[in-house]
Amino acid sequence: MKRSKDRNRLLRIISLCVAIERKGGNPFEVGVKEALETLRKYLPHWKVLEDFALDAETLNRISSIVSLQGNWIKHRSSTLFVDPLLIELKVKMLEPEKLLQIFRRTWRPVIEMDRLSNKRVLEAIDYWNRLQPIEDRLMKLPEPSGVLELTSIEELIKARIINEESFTALLQKFWLELKEKANGEERIHYWDFIYAPSYEETVIRAYLTSFLVTYGFATMEIEPLEEETFLVPYMELRELSLKEQMISFPISIDYDIWKEMAERQ
């Protein structure tokens, strides 16, 4: 019974800390000294793992509050400090027109430009001209043959998408090739890397390259103005960060571009 009461006390400290952290209240509302004394008093009586975990969680929350107290003092001494209550009272008294004047004097709108290059417009026109009406396209879709299932490794091997080496080993090999081809340069032109003597092989190389980028072996740099795409190999495999926004970037493996390159070769 006594232990349960002690646990509840720690849970109350945690919830107070969490509330202050989340809502930005005054961190000095938490009695850090008393909370630490409580922890010290309870610690010798804990026996089970869950209680020790609760103790550690409480300590962690208290340390966050101490950090917030530091920031609070820093903010109060900064020029941006003003009592929230005063702001609340002031904004309630100000008329919308006065607030508009304030905004006008403090607002420096960001300027940006969206653009379409001539090349992109021509590509778009070409795409539109080639695109068949949606009804025709829907009619041409093949009937589903039985139950849908995932493509097996054997099928991928048969389709020459991958060979019998493990896919990871294949990617590693491909990564080395990219690093070698970049030859100390920071980046290599996308088409220079994926180009192969046959169009089919070029498509396979483009397919594998997409995995290099997705799995953190390399990254892509797109120069929108020049409409050029480059591959930048990483020297070390990079962990994928969930914080960074991942984007998909479609690249057309255009047969005409390949043919043009083949002729130049």
Partner: protein, 196 residues
Amino acid sequence: MAENTGAYVRKVKRAAKIIFYRRHRQPGVKGWELRRALGKEYVKIVDLLNQHLSSIGLQVRTVYEGSEQPQNPTSEQLDGARFYMAVKEPLTASDLVLSGWRVDDVAALVVAVSYIISKQGKAARKDIEQILREKFPKWRVERNLNRYIRQGYLNEVEDVLYLDWRARAEIDQKTLIKLVIGGDTSKSSDQTTTTP
């Protein structure tokens, strides 16, 4: 000498293109992107670009990560900072009318932003709603807050509102607070530096 000048001119033009044109979800570019495109001396290039822009009332604004605006930024802080193209001087009343903002929308934004600043950069959404609902109907308050979030002025995480990239890039926070509490309004300070 002439070669050097030519190289600088080319780099200034390139810097203008990179900063002006939207490449990402947000406008502007990170310092490390400028370094990669313009070389180590990118800060000097941005400075030169600013001199050109000044004559047409524009400037490159540098917004550092976090709420602190360092006096002497390190190269790491510059790499992580975002560089935007922005208007240099305060807008005139007619400019603001042209921007399409309604007076009540602006008023609600000023209230929300100044309250969040006073609460150290974050405040419970319901507290802000409560203040706004003294003057605006509930539906308008909700619509406005959602709109500011969509536009990048505010960010909401678990019912707590923060200042988002746009408020930090576009609003001179120090001047805003001064004007709201009725301090010296004759000059506006620059919360973000024009050049690092």
